[in-house]
Symmetry: C2
Subunit: 339 residues, 2 copies
DNA sequence: AGGGTGTCTGCATAGGTATGCAGAGAACCG
DNA sequence: CGGTTCTCTGCATACCTATGCAGACACCCT
């Protein structure tokens, strides 16, 4: 195993000082063309590359961004992680990832862990941070950006879709479709995203003189949401439409209705999801859903993270990116709907 | 933004030397109980935690493991990444991730990048490393473990299922089912995994006096494999069974057959996949498939990575973990098959 | 020619931690 | 009580790089 080659080795070979080598690899530093080529030559010969970790010790920038993610099996997040990683790579940053269940105990340890690695920022995807943790990050001057989660206070930047408006849009669409008994299997009510969607949905129904015909917490889990669907449809007068809090659960609900209960979607009951994951477009499901534009959300997240890093005292931003309702065949269409 | 608190700060407050503080946080070091509690008290008061990066500078261990992954949208890999991350977390390591397309140019840069971060090891999931890159890693003494990819030479450790045997098993199952025209839409033939499965499959058919009735390269892509299925089934005498190189593509093939061509699976054509991703068990697909035990593969990968880190000169291991054929309803059953 | 400006280089140090070495005690044994 | 061993502590240094400072030099202008 070859010993690591350091800037000092390069300096010796090139017959210059270590500082000179450093300057060649530090952009913005002042180096003559002669020096530049001489050092590069030696560096290439030796196979030298700067040690990011040692550099970080001085600059205080690790170029590492911590990512905490809870629901990787939901394709929306798998996709988001891939995009985040790619986008940050392009900016010379990289993701150090932590996967967690949704217990606060875990999170506590994770945040400590993160800080040990001197990450430049923290992205929390599908994770709800407790107030105590937010405090801790703020105290350490660690920028935090929430992805697909909001937060009640205003200390943190957050990138989401406009969940309340999205919920409304779904309600309006189902009302326009002439549905009478409109139910909701929500995302986990412990999450802001789950609550906001449910809220917007309920508000819009109420304004139209309807109530939410039935509601259950799907907890972002396939089995839980399947169970909820089963219960709802077994009632003597079952709903004729269900808005499910995200696509991942909606697919599970469709499976139960069709294959276990022998019901037809949308003839017996309309289903609408949220996210527009790739699978929603697959012909087996062809799910009507409210799109969260993953790409734009990721772009906004990256921009915000970099801005926070660049400007320490920066005001936290609530960024809401809205997407269209993607009309497919899992929900009955309103009269005269053209498409 | 609070200044970082260092071991020296703790030392001053506790009235001891910096070495003492370091020793308290270095396990295996010799510290008296009195010293221990005194230092811990001061550390807690100040909120001190050791700087992993500075530590790595001395120990030569970053406790960071580089992960290169290409197909995150395939749930098999999303799942694997989640498990890998979780398992490594438990061992005090963390994943720094790079996502790549499958171009070699990319990979070249990525490996350089990786080394800049002084990662302790590299896990390449669903990525085929060129010989040159393998050389480079070997030269740098960087342990590499391939996940779900083999390699022709023997310099690298690799964890896979027994792809050849798996391919055989599928062939035998389809033959036992009485199929006459057995086709294959393979994984990318540039990947060892894709080649091995195809090879084992073809061998078993040949031994039974059959040939592969039709073959196409699905390139691990939904559209490509869908197109291949379309072409095959449009022939005057289409196949009565198709083995698809992984589940992700198999689901796409099923969608095309059923919803675009109006064919029945398995009545018109049997479909068998490979991986047993979660979706394969969903009732909309209920896909017969050869299971790759993700959990055991991940465990083996982690074990091998840690072993390589612990024993630098260690012999590379080819670890093949086999899984059962999971019989569901997407392929016609052999006579008298009990289940 | 002399002074001012600007570019480039090396020296020295800092950043936060781990560890070899030697010394100080304590504990133990005969 | 003297000598040996063991445990613990501090001192000094090393890990690898970036950067402030000052000096060297070239250049331009008056």
């Amino acid at each position: 195993m070859a010993r690591k080659v350091t800037s000092l080795d390069v300096a010796r070979v090139a017959g210059v000082s270590q500082s000179a080598v450093s300057r060649v690899f530090t952009k913005g530093a002042s180096v003559s063309p002669a020096m530049e080529s001489r050092v590069r030559k030696a560096a290439d010969d030796l196979g030298y590359r700067p040690n990011v970790l040692a550099r970080s010790l001085i600059t205080g920038q690790s170029r590492i961004i911590g990512l905490v993610v809870a629901y990787m099996h939901n394709p929306f997040f798998a996709d988001a992680v891939e995009r985040l990683s790619h986008a940050l790579q392009a900016e010379g940053y990289h993701l150090l990832i932590w996967t967690v269940g949704n217990s606060d105990v875990d999170l506590d340890r994770v945040v400590d862990d993160l800080m040990d690695y001197q990450v430049d920022a923290l992205i929390a995807a599908s994770v709800d941070l407790s107030g105590a943790l937010v405090e801790k990050c703020a105290a350490a001057g660690l920028p935090v950006v929430l992805f697909n989660r909001g937060i009640t206070g205003d200390g943190l930047s957050a990138v989401t879709s406009d969940n309340r408006a999205g919920g409304r849009r779904v309600a309006e669409f189902l009302l326009a479709g002439g549905h009478e008994r409109i139910a909701h299997i929500s995302g986990w009510q412990g999450s802001s995203t789950g609550r906001d969607r449910a809220q917007g949905f309920a508000d819009a129904l109420a304004e139209a003189g309807h109530g939410v015909y039935a509601q259950a917490d799907g907890r972002y889990d396939r089995d839980t949401s399947a169970g909820a669907a089963r219960d709802m449809m077994r009632r003597s007068d079952p709903p004729d439409a269900i808005f499910v809090g995200n696509d991942y659960m909606a697919l599970s609900v469709m499976d139960v209705l069709r294959h276990e209960m022998g019901l037809s979607v949308p003839d017996d009951v309309s289903i609408v999801g949220y996210d527009d994951i790739a699978m929603a477009a697959w012909p087996s499901y062809d799910l009507t859903t409210l799109r969260q534009p993953a790409r734009r959300m990721v772009d906004a997240t990256v921009r915000e993270v970099l801005a926070q890093i660049g400007t320490p005292g920066r005001q936290a931003q609530k960024i809401e990116i809205d997407g269209p309702l993607v009309v497919r065949s899992s929900a009955r269409l309103p009269q005269g709907h053209s498409e």
